[in-house]
């Protein structure tokens, strides 16, 4: 139960941080970049906590593919790809975090555009991801209230 609660707290934090990251002026670019990098690691932990599902679902898809599982896996994989593109493009346009770490990359606005497009896709896919796990979120909120 402790692990499930920790998972819920992490997921809720990811949701609020992601909403914050979508609005750069809220934190300013420098904090946006550092929080963005931390978010990528937190998302990695989120995936590690769901590891059994990630591994078992493709096997189940091969055996008996339920529509829900196919749709859910498609959404989750797309969200994973969108987050990787967001992180990669974010690193490529970094003006504070990366130079602080000693790396300098030539500015290319194509990365800015990709970052912006990936953000839009990620917002939509996060909505679908929340929709697919709505019952679990609702159940966790009820447990916390009780």
């Amino acid at each position: 139960m402790m692990r499930v609660r920790a998972s819920f707290v992490l997921d809720a934090s990811l949701f609020f941080v992601f909403s914050g990251l979508s609005v750069v002026p809220l934190t300013g670019l420098m904090i946006h970049e550092w929080i963005g990098l931390a978010f990528a690691w937190a998302a990695l932990i989120h995936l590690l906590l769901s590891w059994n599902w990630i591994i078992s679902t493709p096997r189940n898809l091969l055996k008996s593919a339920s529509t829900r599982n196919v749709v859910n896996y498609g959404i989750n994989f797309s969200l994973f790809a969108a987050m990787i593109i967001l992180t990669l493009s974010g690193v490529m346009i970094s003006r504070h975090a990366l130079p602080t770490m000693g790396a300098h990359i030539e500015e290319n606005v194509r990365w800015v555009r990709l970052h912006s497009a990936a953000t839009n896709y990620a917002i939509g896919l996060t909505g679908f991801h929340v929709a697919m796990n709505w019952d679990w979120i609702y159940a966790m909120l009820r447990v916390r209230k009780a």
Partner: protein, 91 residues
């Protein structure tokens, strides 16, 4: 140890996705911020400085951003159907 292996698998998957995207963008000639945005907007579009009043003004947008995700989730539940939202034993 098991966690390290799992992290490595995820990082390999991440590198695979990045490996598809990176050559598509990085191999093309760079274009600069000022080339894209009109001169009068370039200062805003390309700025990096933190501005506390802008942060304050961005709070409603932050709330709106979260609301958009919840709205998409609510809409998706209706469109995808209740059956898709029910977890099965496989989940």
């Amino acid at each position: 140890m098991r966690t390290l292996v799992r992290m490595s698998v995820l990082l390999v998957a991440a590198v695979a996705v990045a490996g598809v995207v990176y050559p598509l963008v990085a191999t093309r000639p760079p274009i600069h911020c000022e080339d894209v945005f009109p001169r009068q907007r370039a200062r805003d579009a390309c700025r990096t400085r933190w501005d506390p009043p802008a942060s304050f003004r961005a709070v409603p947008r932050f709330v709106f951003q979260g609301a958009i995700v919840i709205a998409i989730a609510t809409g998706a539940r209706k469109v995808l159907g209740v059956s898709l939202n029910r977890r099965t034993k496989e989940d």
